[in-house]
Subunit: 189 residues, 2 copies
Amino acid sequence: MAKAGRRPGQTETREQILAAARGLFAENGFDATTIRAIAAEAGVNAALIHHFFGSKDQVFVAALALPVNPADVIRQAVAGPREQVGERLTRFFLSVWGDDEARQPFLALLRSIASNENAARMMREFLLRTVVRPIAAEFGIGELAMTATSAHLVGIAMLRYVVRVEPIASASDDDVIATVAPVIQHYFD
Amino acid sequence: MAKAGRRPGQTETREQILAAARGLFAENGFDATTIRAIAAEAGVNAALIHHFFGSKDQVFVAALALPVNPADVIRQAVAGPREQVGERLTRFFLSVWGDDEARQPFLALLRSIASNENAARMMREFLLRTVVRPIAAEFGIGELAMTATSAHLVGIAMLRYVVRVEPIASASDDDVIATVAPVIQHYFD
């Protein structure tokens, strides 16, 4: 159902752009895909894409229907004392994965990454540019430590929400945070 | 090609047992599947299964063609000083995943776990009984901490070998161990 005030056709244009973006990201990866190329493929002006979505990161988030923008992850990381960054990241991560609606696109993503090299490459480049590099730089930690941090959180998601091994599957968010966050914090100390 | 000295038909019997085991593990999970039930399904004597494979864990490992037996993981964990258990587990885990041949069944497993609830349940029960509980008990740490340890290693596998995010994808085993092992060690301290 179109929202009031929207021009007719705007939703379709948006969908056209996202379909073009999905195709190009899958084919060429995140780095090699430009807003200009997406615009050409969708038959629209590049300015319209900026107007609808903002940056290339945001086009990617919308195209893959990710429930979280990396900008949000970074905001969580930096919003508060450094000695609690482990806790903030863990809490934020659990809150996203704990949400039934947000979890579905992540599960779909996990499946496609595990079975499809193009999907893996897209995410690889996207994660490096938009999460690993900026947070590592912000805190002055190595990018290897930052990928290890990400790995720990991804693994928590795998065992808690996908495999659902006990007791981590049924533990409260607070219990998981009390166990995991101080360990993750070591990557920032 | 049958090995010299093997009775004809032994390979087929073995395959029959594994096929029966795969079916029952997938249908009923790891816990509810007994050697007796597998024997009945395969039309063989339970003693023959013990003779071929040993324990139910080992039937499971063979049925899913896992390259690692949880008994090996436990052996690694306990073989040496407690203050280096993080390093031993990390090194062992990387050596298995770093092996091209061993990696394939793990990737297949990851895919099926992410897309199939029966596969997830099998692994969930198997991991809890054969890895999480025994190692947590051995070191007197909580099972939640032990699942978090496992989660960290699983996440490393995801980012290093599946998504292949840099720099963790190309880092040497020694560099990954130097970064990750001291952090994992905190779960045992």
